[in-house]
């Protein structure tokens, strides 16, 4: 652990320094964030009764645990009106970072400060998969704290925005394709203004038409002075939508700045 610490701290200094901009109002401040989580690495047979029994006989308390240091000292400030794209190779800590900003993962060190409650839209498409699309709309709106009247008023625009095939709105969400589910989910979440919206590949499954509409919606959210974070492997989406890009590499910030510049460097480095 000590050796690992030294190695990491020397690299941590190499991350770009963050200087607060006093002229703008921050909405998310990530301060030296480290995320470590533990996973079992039971060699593929962790679940069987026999191995569990052997563990008890051998008096081992837990199966082999592995620590994953997914985010390593990340700092940045997001200001009101920012749309920040996060790029990086698989396993570079993008999704982990978003989860931490949403408050779903506790920091091992450092902190995340936000104004208001961030909402995370992930890849798993359904909110309540055994319920119909229209039920999901109503319940989603009510859960976000909208009144029954507001819910009724926004129902039609949500259906229109999600643009489902005719009839699907009355089917359970478990029957939806991943693209349809993601669209409906995004439409529900976008019905209310969010201070911070975190989108983790949720738009990836949409078609070109939906991408255009969701970009308009993200712009709208930015104008309402919230902030939007976007994780996507499709760099075009990020280039079109974001005003700033953070490049994560092995849990560290490699670059943070103008989309053109960062995406250019990223494309060059990954050889796309």
């Amino acid at each position: 652990m000590v050796k690992a610490l030294k190695e990491r701290s020397s690299v941590a200094e190499a991350q770009p320094e963050v200087r607060p901009d006093p002229t703008r109002e921050p909405i998310v401040v990530v301060d030296g964030l480290h995320i470590i989580y533990r996973v079992y690495s039971g060699g593929g047979n962790k679940g069987s009764a026999a191995t569990a029994l052997m563990r008890i006989i051998k008096r081992e308390n837990r199966p082999q645990m592995k620590e994953v240091h997914a985010v390593k000292g990340v700092s940045f400030i997001a200001y009101r009106g920012d749309a920040i794209g996060i790029v990086g190779t698989n396993g570079s800590g993008k999704s982990t970072l978003l989860k931490a900003v949403a408050g779903l993962l506790p920091p091992a060190r450092g902190a995340v400060y936000t104004d208001g409650q961030p909402s995370l839209l992930g890849v798993n498409a359904a909110l309540m998969k055994d319920l119909s699309g229209s039920r999901n709309i109503t319940l989603g709106c009510l859960a976000m704290g909208m009144t029954p009247e507001e819910t009724k008023a926004s129902y039609d625009s949500i259906v229109k925005f999600a643009d489902l095939k005719a009839g699907f709105i009355d089917y359970p969400m478990s029957t939806y394709s991943s693209g349809m589910g993601a669209r409906l989910r995004f439409a529900i979440a976008a019905a209310r203004t969010h201070d911070v919206l975190l989108i983790d590949e949720a738009l990836a499954t949409g078609d070109a038409k939906f991408k255009r509409r969701s970009k308009a919606k993200i712009d709208e959210l930015r104008e309402d002075a919230g902030a939007v974070f976007l994780v996507a492997h499709n760099l075009d989406v990020i280039e079109e939508t974001c005003n700033r890009v953070i490049w994560l590499d092995d849990g560290r910030v490699k670059m943070d700045g103008d989309p053109e510049e960062v995406l250019g460097a990223y494309t060059e480095a990954t050889g796309k």
Binding site: V29, M65, L105, R109, A143
Partner: protein
């Protein structure tokens, strides 16, 4: 979708802590924290204050009711008979228990109207039992909802108990019909069912919130729970008369066991409904000097203690549900 293993199960401590602040502050972390504080930013996903939480919860009352109704509809949507099962399930339950405990084992020596006695017990107990098992699943089954939207998580166990309440109301209608068929006559004392069930509802909300927090972090609870509720069922005087059994135990010198059986919340609510509904049961129990005031006191205390304790316990982990 499962919660990852946590180092500390009780409080929301980080999974690992690094005890060397100096070398980790390469970019001057303190100034960032100050900058955040200047603009009134708070730590992500902190727990709201209790008054704010209760207010948010009250604001979501339509959500709770709609979620309960939607879940009920979804439960039966796959079957041909649909929501007819809401009536059939309690009826079949009562039938099975009557077959075994009424006819096969012959428990009805001292109880005049054994079918009504038994079915009342089964229905009232089922309300508590199902609230408990639904509560244990309420967080784990809704992780994608929890992770996507922000709302007070207590609405989930609450909605599941409301769902069971809707089922109970149907069961009670069935029960009234059965009771009438077995020869009881409607009386003004039947109205006492309402305060009893209200107290039981409050009690159920409390315990299901408690089990919801436990079930969210320890998945094994769901495997264990059926055994706990079944043991509870056999102790709660669903099939036998508590007063008679306590009398017998006390004869053997085990007074404390008798006291515990009488104070058992499930037994208290069952007995109170029986006394309200069954005129014949009053006569059956007359010889055992039952203290009705004490029963009501138990019912009230259990409801208040379970509700306040369960709500507080659930609220204390509010920011950690869905993490992992």
């Amino acid at each position: 979708m499962s919660h990852r293993e946590r180092l500390t199960a009780s409080e929301g401590e980080p999974v690992a802590t690094i005890n060397d602040p100096a070398r980790w502050n390469g970019t001057g972390g303190a100034s960032l924290a100050e900058f955040a504080a200047q603009h009134g930013l708070r730590q992500s996903a902190a727990r709201p204050s209790l008054p704010a939480y209760v207010k948010a919860l009250w604001q979501r009352r339509t959500f709770v009711w709609n979620l309960a109704s939607a879940k009920t509809a979804a439960t039966y949507s796959g079957s041909h008979l649909g929501q007819v099962w809401q009536v059939l399930t309690p009826l079949l339950n009562a039938g099975v228990y009557y077959l075994i405990f009424g006819l096969l084992l012959g428990q009805n020596k001292h109880i005049t109207n054994y079918p009504a006695f038994l079915i009342t017990g089964v229905f009232v107990f089922t309300f508590t039992q199902r609230s408990l098992s639904a509560g244990a699943k309420s967080i784990g089954n809704n992780l994608s909802l929890i992770r996507a939207l922000h709302f007070p998580r207590a609405t989930l166990p609450l909605a599941y108990v409301i769902m069971e309440l809707q089922q109970l109301l149907i069961s009670m209608a069935v029960l009234i019909v059965i009771v009438l068929l077995t020869g009881e006559t409607p009386e003004i004392s039947w109205l006492f069912i309402i305060p009893v069930l209200v107290l039981q509802l409050i009690f159920n909300i409390g315990i299901s919130m408690m089990i919801a927090r436990m079930g969210a972090f320890i998945r094994d609870i769901q495997q264990l729970l059926p055994f706990i509720t079944r043991t509870w069922l056999y102790f709660s005087g669903v099939f036998f008369m508590i007063a008679e059994r306590v009398d017998k135990i006390s004869g053997h010198g085990h007074h404390w066991l008798g006291r515990i059986m009488e104070a058992n919340p499930a037994a208290v609510y069952i007995e109170l409904v029986r006394f309200a509904l069954l005129d014949t049961y009053h006569k059956d129990a007359a010889q055992y000097h039952l203290n009705h005031g004490l029963l009501w006191l138990y019912a009230l205390i259990w409801a208040v203690v379970a509700f306040v304790g369960g709500f507080w316990y659930f609220y204390r982990a509010e920011e950690r549900y869905g993490r992992g």
